[in-house]
Symmetry: C2
Subunit: 775 residues, 2 copies
C-alpha cells in the first residue's frame, strides 16, 4: 500500500529518478541541487534501484560535462539521469539535441528556474525549460509535490517505452522546495509498471565492441534531411504512450492524469490554460469562484512536447469562448510567449477562430501567483474589451501591460490553517518548522504544506516560514497572505516589516520580546498597534531569549517558539504535540546526555508557562505614537527602491522604478542599517595597543582605525588617545565602530591580542551611540 510521507518536491522526484537510474551524472545548481544530494546520499547508503544496484553518481566539472556524461552513459547502455536548472540546463542544450537525435531514453528532472538576463535570479519560472522546447525532448510538467513524483514516474515509464528523452519540470523553489505530505510509490510497485522488454532492448543497443555499430556520424546535404525525418514515428507515438503510462499510474494510485487535465465548470466559457505550480492555485481559485456561482475552468498542460493538439482540443469544454493562456516566461521580440503561440496554432489549425485567445505573463522569478491575481485574469477575460499580452502580479506603468488587481481574494478551502513565522537566518526557526510539519504530517491525517522564503543575506537575514494544514490536499501554491497565526521570532522586526497585514481577522499574533506593559506600547509602532486592533487579533508575547538563557541554551529559541506555536495555533491537541516534541528532543540530543535533553524539555514546559496574552487596548485602534524605524539620510534610489525591498515590500514597486538594463547605483549598503547583532563590540580605549587587528579581521568593515590631528575639532564624546609611533606624532588615534552594521560574530574580540581585551561585546542597544555621524 502507498505510504504517506512528508517531503519536498526535489525529494519526491529523486525517489523516482533513483529507482530508474544506473548512473546519475550531476553538477549541482540551485534549486535542483538537493535532487543530486538525495541521490548521492541514498547511493552512499547502498539503496538499491530497480535493477538491484545502488546508483553510480558522478559529479562532473559543469552542466555541459554532466550532459555529455549522460549522453555517453546512455550510449553505453546505462539508464542515466541528471537534475538541473537555469543556466545549467542551457549548457546541456547541445547534448540534448544529440540525445534526442539518437533516440536515447532518459529523463532530465528540472526544477525550472529563471535565466539570468538584466539580473540573475535563483528563483523559479519557465524561461529555462522553454529554451529547450526545440531540442526534441518530450516535456512533462508537474504542478505540486505529489504530481512531481507521479509525473517523474510517468516520464521514466514513457521514455523507456518511446525511446524519446523527457524533460520533466516543476517550478523551482515553489515545488522543488515546498514540503508536502504525499503518497509515496514503492519500488516494488514501480517495478511492475516498467516495460522490461524495452529496458532489455535499450541495453542491447548499447555500443559494444562485441557487436560494433556506429552512432553520431557526420552526414552531408544529400542524406541528413531524410534521416532527420526518420524519427517522426517515434514522436507521433509519444502522446499515446504517455497516456498509457498515466493510466498505469492511475490503476496503481487512483490518481488520474491526462495529457491535458480540465478542471472547473463543465460549461465554462472562460478557461485559463496553464502549466506548473500556477495550475494548482488556479484550480483552487476556480473551485472557490465557481462555488460562488462563476463558471470558470482551468486546463492544466501536462505533456507540453509533443504538443498533442487533438487531445488539447478534446480537453476543452464545448462551451469555451475565451481562453487566457498563461506563460511563465518572457521572450522579448516574440509575438507571444510559447504556450500562447502553441495554443494559437492549435486553434487556428482546427479552424476555431470562434474562441478569443488572450496571452498573459505571470510569475517570473517566482513572483507570487495568488487567487487575487487569478481572479484578475478571469475578470479581464469577461470584459468587453479584454487586454491581450497582459502581465499579472506587477504594476507596469511603462508599457501598461499589467492587469489591475481587485481586493485580496482568499481561495483556500474552509478549515485550512495557515501559519506564518518571521525568523532570523540561522536562528533555528526554519528547522523547528520543518520538525513541526513532520510531526503533524507523520502523526495525523492532516495534509501539510511548508514553504520557506529566505532573503539573500541567508545567515543573519530574514526567513519567513509558511505552514498550512488541512483535511484536503493543499493547492495554495503561493505564500500565505491570510494567516490564522503569525509569529515574530525577532523583536527587532516590529519596526522593520509589516507582519500584520497578512493576518486574518481574529487571528493570533505571537511576538518574541522582552517587553511588557508600557514598554510594549512604546516599542510597537503605531501602524502595527492599529492593525492588530482593527483585525481584532489575539496578541501573545513571550520572552524566549530570556527563557533560553535561563536554561543554558544561549540564543537558541527555536524549541521555545515551536512549543508556543503548538500551544496557540491549535492544529493538533497540545498534549500530543508536547509528546512528539519531547520525543524528538530525546532522539536528537540523547547522545549529548540527559542534561541537554532535560534542558530542552524544560524550555518546552517553560514556553507554555511563560506565554502571556496581551489584551489589546481599545486605544490601539487609533494609536498615533510608538516605535519608528530608524531614519537615515540616503539617496533617492535608496529611499525609493532599496528601502521598500529591504522592508519586504519590493512587490509593490512599479516597472518604472527600474533601469531597463538592470543597472543600479553602487555603495548603497551604507544606508542599510540592519542592527541584527545581539551583542556588538565596545572599544576599551585604555587597553588598546593600536595593532588594528580587529579592523583587519572584521568581515563587514564595521571596525575602522582613525588618525586625527591632535588639534582638530571633533564631535562631543569622540574619545581618542595619542597615536603610537614616531611617524604619527601629533596625531590622535581612535577605533570607530559601526554597531548597526555589525553581525555580532565576535571575530574582533577573539583576535584582540591585548593583555586585557580592548574590545568587549555589549548589547546592541547600549552601543548605538557609537554610530551617530562619526563614520
Amino acid at each position: 500500500m502507498a505510504k504517506k510521507y512528508t517531503i519536498d518536491g526535489n525529494g519526491a522526484v529523486s525517489h523516482i529518478a533513483y529507482a530508474f537510474s544506473d548512473v546519475a551524472a550531476i553538477y549541482p545548481i540551485t534549486p535542483s541541487s538537493t535532487m543530486a544530494e538525495y541521490v548521492d546520499e541514498w547511493s552512499a547508503q547502498g539503496l538499491k534501484n530497480l535493477y538491484g544496484q545502488p546508483v553510480s553518481v558522478s559529479e562532473m566539472q559543469s552542466e555541459g560535462g554532466a550532459a555529455g556524461a549522460v549522453h555517453g552513459s546512455l550510449a553505453a547502455g546505462a539508464m542515466t539521469t541528471t537534475y538541473t536548472a537555469s543556466q545549467g540546463l542551457l549548457l546541456m542544450i547541445p547534448n540534448m539535441y544529440k540525445i534526442a537525435g539518437e533516440l536515447l531514453p532518459t529523463v532530465f528532472h528540472v526544477s525550472a528556474r529563471t535565466l539570468a538576463t538584466h539580473a540573475l535570479s535563483i528563483f523559479g519560472d519557465h524561461s529555462d525549460v522553454m529554451a529547450c522546447r526545440q531540442t526534441g525532448f518530450a516535456m512533462l510538467a508537474s504542478g505540486s509535490v505529489q504530481e512531481a513524483q507521479d509525473m517523474a514516474l510517468i516520464a521514466h515509464l514513457a521514455t523507456i517505452k518511446s525511446s524519446v528523452p523527457f524533460l520533466h519540470f516543476f517550478d523551482g523553489f515553489r515545488t522543488s522546495h515546498e514540503v508536502q505530505k504525499i503518497d509515496q510509490i514503492s519500488y516494488e510497485d514501480i517495478s511492475k509498471l516498467v516495460d522490461w522488454d524495452k529496458v532489455a532492448a535499450f541495453r542491447a543497443r548499447a555500443l559494444n565492441p562485441e557487436h560494433p555499430r556506429q552512432s553520431g556520424t557526420a552526414q552531408n546535404p544529400d542524406v541528413y534531411f531524410q534521416n532527420r525525418e526518420a524519427a517522426n514515428p517515434y514522436y507521433l507515438a509519444v502522446p499515446g504512450i504517455v497516456e498509457a503510462c498515466m493510466k498505469q499510474v492511475k490503476r496503481l494510485t487512483g490518481r488520474s492524469y491526462r495529457l491535458f487535465d480540465y478542471v472547473g465548470a463543465p460549461d465554462a466559457e472562460d478557461v485559463m490554460i496553464i502549466m506548473g505550480s500556477g495550475a494548482e492555485a488556479a484550480h483552487e481559485t476556480v473551485t472557490a469562484l465557481n462555488s460562488k456561482g462563476k463558471k470558470y475552468g482551468v486546463l492544466k498542460v501536462r505533456l507540453y512536447r509533443p504538443f498533442a493538439a487533438e487531445a488539447f482540443l478534446k480537453a476543452l469544454p464545448k462551451s469555451v469562448r475565451r481562453l487566457s493562456v498563461m506563460d511563465r516566461t518572457k521572450e522579448p521580440g516574440a509575438l507571444g510567449d510559447p504556450l500562447y503561440t502553441d495554443v494559437r496554432t492549435a486553434l487556428a489549425e482546427a479552424g476555431r477562430s470562434d474562441i478569443l485567445v488572450l496571452g498573459g505573463r505571470y510569475g517570473l522569478s517566482s513572483k507570487e501567483f495568488t487567487p487575487t491575481m487569478i481572479k484578475a485574469v478571469f475578470d479581464n477575460s469577461v470584459k468587453p474589451r479584454p487586454k491581450n499580452h497582459f502581465t499579472v502580479g506587477i504594476t507596469d506603468d511603462v508599457t501598461n501591460t499589467s492587469l489591475p488587481l481587485g481586493r485580496q481574494y482568499n481561495a483556500a478551502p474552509e478549515g485550512t490553517v495557515a501559519c506564518k513565522f518571521y525568523g532570523l537566518g540561522s536562528d533555528g526557526t526554519v528547522g523547528a518548522n520543518k520538525n513541526s510539519i513532520k510531526i503533524i504530517g507523520d502523526h495525523t491525517k492532516l495534509y501539510a504544506q511548508a514553504y520557506f522564503a529566505y532573503d539573500s543575506k541567508k545567515s543573519g537575514g530574514l526567513t519567513v516560514s509558511h505552514l498550512r494544514f488541512g483535511r484536503v490536499p493543499i493547492q495554495s501554491t503561493y505564500q500565505i497572505d491570510d494567516a490564522d497565526f503569525v509569529a515574530c521570532h525577532n523583536p527587532a522586526y516590529v519596526t522593520q516589516y509589516d507582519m500584520v497585514s497578512a493576518l486574518k481577522r481574529g487571528g493570533t499574533f505571537l511576538l518574541n520580546c522582552p517587553w511588557e506593559g508600557s514598554e510594549l506600547e512604546e516599542r510597537l509602532p503605531a501602524t502595527m498597534k492599529q492593525a492588530l486592533a482593527q483585525k481584532k487579533a489575539k496578541l501573545f508575547i513571550i520572552d524566549a531569549i530570556d527563557l533560553a538563557e535561563k536554561h543554558g541554551m544561549g540564543g537558541r529559541i527555536n524549541t521555545i517558539m515551536q512549543a508556543a506555536f503548538f500551544k496557540l495555533a491549535g492544529v493538533i491537541p497540545y498534549a500530543q504535540a508536547e509528546k512528539f516534541m519531547k520525543d524528538y528532543a530525546k532522539k536528537t540530543y540523547g547522545r549529548k546526555g540527559d542534561k541537554v535533553v532535560k534542558a530542552n524539555w524544560a524550555v518546552i514546559d517553560g514556553a507554555v508557562a511563560e506565554l502571556r496574552e496581551v489584551r489589546i487596548p481599545a486605544g490601539w485602534l487609533t494609536a498615533s505614537s510608538g516605535a519608528e524605524p530608524m531614519k537615515i539620510e540616503a539617496t533617492e534610489y535608496f529611499d525609493k527602491v532599496a528601502k521598500p525591498i529591504l522592508r519586504q515590500a519590493g512587490d509593490s514597486l512599479p516597472v518604472s522604478a527600474f533601469d531597463p538594463a538592470g543597472v543600479v547605483p553602487t555603495a548603497t549598503t551604507q544606508y542599510e542599517k540592519r542592527g541584527i547583532a545581539v551583542n556588538v563590540p565596545e572599544w576599551q580605549i585604555e587597553h588598546c595597543i593600536q595593532c588594528n587587528q580587529c579592523s583587519m579581521v572584521c568581515p563587514h568593515a564595521v571596525i575602522r582605525p582613525i588618525l586625527i590631528e591632535s588639534g582638530a575639532q571633533r564631535p562631543e564624546g569622540f574619545e581618542t588617545k595619542p597615536a603610537m609611533g614616531k611617524e604619527y606624532a601629533g596625531n590622535d588615534f581612535r577605533i570607530q565602530i559601526s554597531p548597526l552594521d555589525c553581525t555580532g560574530c565576535g571575530n574582533c574580540y577573539e583576535v584582540c591580542p591585548a593583555k586585557t581585551k580592548a574590545l568587549q561585546m555589549k548589547p546592541l542597544d547600549s552601543q548605538l551611540h557609537q554610530d551617530a555621524n562619526w563614520q
Copy 2:
C-alpha cells in the same frame, strides 16, 4: 562611389563587422571561420575600423568563452562582435540572455548551420539560430552575398540606435561560401550613416571606476519581473529603427529593403513566406512562373525578431488566399516549426482566418532547394486539398510528409551561363575556378556566382564547382542542374558519377582523359554515351595529364583545364581570357623565375592546341557496351545506402533507408574501392628486407605484411619469400598491397630502408591485379 568586387558571403559580412568593431572575440567553427580569419588578417595588416584603429582580435578557448568575452568587452564600452554557427552558437546562449538583458549593442554574425542531432552536419540550415529566438536578440536574415553585406550594415546601425543586440544570419555554405560579384560599401560612406551620439552614449555607460555603477546583480521574486518588463520600450522601438536604417542604406546604395519584402504578382493568391537564401531561389522561380502566366508571390522575412506583425500583414498582397510558410529547421514535437507558428499567431491575432496556412520544411543540412521544389510548393498550395506540415526535397516514405516533384524546372533567366566542374580534392580545380570567376567578375560587366561542393574526404575526394555568369544579378541559390558546360577533370569519374544528366541539351562536355577513338568508346560507360548523344552534347577531350607532364608541371592540370574552359564556354572572348590568365601566372609565379612563368604560358597555349572535339557517333544513342563501375561484393547496407551516397546520388535515398537514431554499420570502407591514386606501390620481392616499415607508415592500411605456412595452398600469382627470423621458420612472407585503397602519397616508398627500394610507384592500372581476392 560603390566599388564592385567578387567576394564570398563571409567576406562581405566581415567587411562590415570589421568597420564597427573595437574588439572581436572569436572561436572558429565551420562555416563561420573565415569571418574571423578575414577580420584577423585585416587587423594584422593594420586596416582601420570606423573608430580609426585596427580591430583587437581575441581567440578564446571555446564559443562559450568568446560569448563571455563579448559580454565583458561590451560592458567595458568596446564595440564588440563575434562570428559563429551551430553548436558554437548554442554555447553562446547563456551569455546572449545576459547581453540582451543588459541592453548591450552588438551583432553576432551567424553563418547558420545544422545542429548535430542523429548525425553531425557542417552544412546549413536554421536550427542553430532558431535555438536562439527566445534570448532577446533581434534577428535579421540575409539571402544572398549582397544582402549579407547590406543586412550586416543595417544590423550594426540598428543595434547602435536601439541598444538591442542583433543576431544577423545567412545560410551556412550557401551564402557564407558562395562567391558573388557585389557592390562594396566604403567605410567612408558607412561612417556617415552611424548615429555617433549613440556610440558616445554607449561608451559613456561603460563600467568605469571613475563613475561606478553596478550591472548584473541578483534579484528576487519581489522585483525581477518588474525589471524584466522595463525593457519593453526598447523592443517596441526596434522595427521602426530597422526600417529607418534600411532607408538610410537605400539612400546610399539604391537597394531597397523592408522588414518584410514582397515580390511577385501584386494580385497573387498563393504566397510563399521564407527567409534566408531560399528566398532568392523562390524569387527567381516565381519570376519565371509568373512570366508564364502564374500569379504567385514570395514574402521574404528580413527582421524575424522582433516579429513586426503589422508590417507583416501590410506586406502581404490583399489578394492572398493561401500561404506556404517555409521553415529550414525541425523541432520534433512542436505543432509546427517556428516561422509557421509565428505566421499562424500573427494571422490569428489579426482575425485573418480567411487565409489558408500551410507549413513546409525544406533544406535541412543544405539540402538543395531548387525551382523544381519551389514549384512543387505552389503546386501543393493550389490543390483542393493541399498537404500541411509537408517536407520538400526528399522522399518521405515513412510518414508521407513529402511533396511530389514535377519535372525538373529551370528558372534561371535567359542568358545566364552555368558551368560545372568535377575535380579531385587538391588537384587545383577549385583554385582555378576561383581565379576564373575573379577574372570575369573583376574585368567584365557580367555578374558572377561560384559555389564549391566538396565531399567529406577533402584531399583526394570529389570537388564539384558551380559557376554562373549573367547580365543580371544571380539568384540561383542552388547547385547547377542544367549546365551549359560540364568539365570532368579526372578520367576515373566517368564510371563513378553521373555527370551528364545535369548538362543542358546542346551543352558542352569537356573530359580530361588520355583516351581517343576506340579506347574512348571502350572507356566511357554506355549510359554516359547514350546521355551525351540524347542531349546532342558537344564533347571535347584533352589529355591534360600528359600535357602537364610534358611541360614539367607534374600532376598540376588546373591551368590547362582553365584555359580549355575559357576556350569552350565562351563566357568572354578567349583572347581576353588568355591575357588575364597569363598576367595572373606572371603575377603568381614571377618570383619563381621566368622559366616557371613560361611553362605556365606554354600549357595555356598547349591546352588550346590539344583540345579536340569528338563527333558523337549516331550509335551512341543506343550504346549498350562500355566501361562499367567495379562490382564489389558488399553488404546490403553498403549496396543500398553507402553506394548511392558515394556515387553522389544520396539525394535519391528515401527516408526509410535510414535508421531513425542515425545508427550505421561499421567496417564499410572495405567495400569502397576508390582507386584515386595516380601511382601506387608495387612490391619488389627481391629487395624486401621484411622490416614492415612500409606497413607502419601507410595512413590508409593499404600495405599489410602477411605470414603464411610454407606448405599452405595459395592463389595463383601469390608470390612469397621465406620469412626471416628463427621464430618464423616454416613460414613464408609477403607484402600485400591494396591499390584501390591507396591515395598515392608515396610514404611507403619514402620510408623503405632497403638498399634498393623494395617498393616502386607504378600507374594504378598496371597494379590492379594486386587487389583481387587476396586481401
